[in-house]
C-alpha cells in the first residue's frame, strides 16, 4: 500500500449541514494535495457528494439513535479513495440502490448511476448497523 499524502474526514448527524461540511473538507483536501489534476478533483468531489447526499436523503435509523454520516477521504500518488458511511442505519432499500439512469423526465434517481460513471470502483459494505460505500478513482 503506497503512502497516504493527504487525508480529510468528517463525522456528524446525517443532515444538510453535513453535506456542506463534507464539501468544505473536499475543498481543503485539494488545497493540501495541489498536485491532483482538476479533472480528478471535479469527478471525485461530485461522486463523494452524491454518496453523502444519498445517505442524507435515504438512510433510515435502525433504532432510536439518529443516523450519522462519516467520510474518510485519502489521497495516494495514483489513487483517490473515500469511505462514505451511514452509522446506526438500516440496510438500504433495493429501490434506492438502482445504478441505472432513469428516463429523461425523471427528477431523481440519477445519483448512483452518476457515481458509477465518475469513479473506477464502487463497493458497498454492511457491518454492525453501518453501511459504507467505498469509492476509488485511479488517477
Amino acid at each position: 500500500m503506497t503512502e497516504v499524502i493527504a487525508r480529510r474526514g468528517f463525522r456528524g448527524l446525517s443532515n444538510e449541514e453535513a453535506i456542506e461540511a463534507i464539501h468544505g473538507e473536499l475543498d481543503a483536501l485539494w488545497d493540501d494535495a495541489s498536485f491532483v489534476p482538476d479533472m480528478d478533483r471535479m469527478t471525485f468531489t461530485t461522486a463523494v457528494i452524491e454518496a453523502a447526499a444519498n445517505i442524507v436523503q435515504h438512510a433510515l435509523p435502525v433504532a432510536e439513535k439518529p443516523v450519522e454520516i462519516g467520510v474518510d477521504i485519502s489521497v495516494r500518488p495514483s489513487r483517490l479513495q473515500a469511505r462514505v458511511s451511514a452509522y446506526n442505519a438500516r440496510e438500504p432499500f433495493a429501490e434506492d440502490m438502482q445504478p441505472n439512469m432513469p428516463d429523461e423526465d425523471a427528477e431523481s434517481g440519477r445519483g448512483l448511476a452518476l457515481i458509477e460513471a465518475l469513479v473506477t470502483t464502487v463497493t458497498f459494505e454492511r457491518q454492525d448497523g453501518t453501511n459504507t460505500w467505498i469509492l476509488t478513482r485511479e488517477t
Binding site: 464539501h23 471535479m42 447526499a53 429523461e104
Partner: protein, 112 residues
C-alpha cells in the same frame, strides 16, 4: 449572506441567477423560486449558471422539474453560462440533450 438565487424579468424572458453550489440543500429553493417566476406570468426562463461551480443530481432534478413547470405553462427553460463541472454532470447523465446550454442569458431566447 449572499442570496443564492435571484431573478429579473426582462422583455421576453425571466433570468434566474444561481450562485454557488446547486446541491440537495439548494435544489428545493431553486424549484420554489422558478415556480414563483412562472406563476407570475414568465414561462420563458433562463437559469444563468455562470456562477454555479457545482451541481449534483439533486440540482439537476430541480432543473428538470423547473423545465417541466415552464413547459406546462406554455414556455420553456434554458440554461446559460455552464461551467465545467455542471457540463460534466449534464453529459454523463445525457441531460445535455434536454437542457440546452447557451453561452449567455440574452442568447438563450435570442432567436425566437
Amino acid at each position: 449572506m449572499l442570496m443564492q438565487f435571484s431573478y429579473e424579468v426582462k422583455d421576453s424572458y425571466a433570468e434566474v441567477k444561481s450562485v454557488g453550489r446547486l446541491n440537495m440543500v439548494a435544489a428545493p429553493k431553486l424549484r420554489e423560486l422558478v415556480a414563483e417566476v412562472v406563476a407570475g406570468g414568465s414561462s420563458r426562463v433562463v437559469v444563468n449558471l455562470a456562477e454555479t461551480d457545482f451541481m449534483d443530481s439533486s440540482g439537476l432534478g430541480a432543473l428538470i422539474g423547473c423545465l417541466k413547470a415552464a413547459r406546462q405553462a406554455g414556455g420553456d427553460l434554458r440554461i446559460s453560462g455552464v461551467q465545467p463541472q455542471v457540463k460534466m454532470v449534464l453529459e454523463l447523465t445525457n441531460m445535455d440533450r434536454v437542457l440546452t446550454a447557451y453561452s449567455s442569458a440574452e442568447e438563450a431566447f435570442g432567436n425566437d
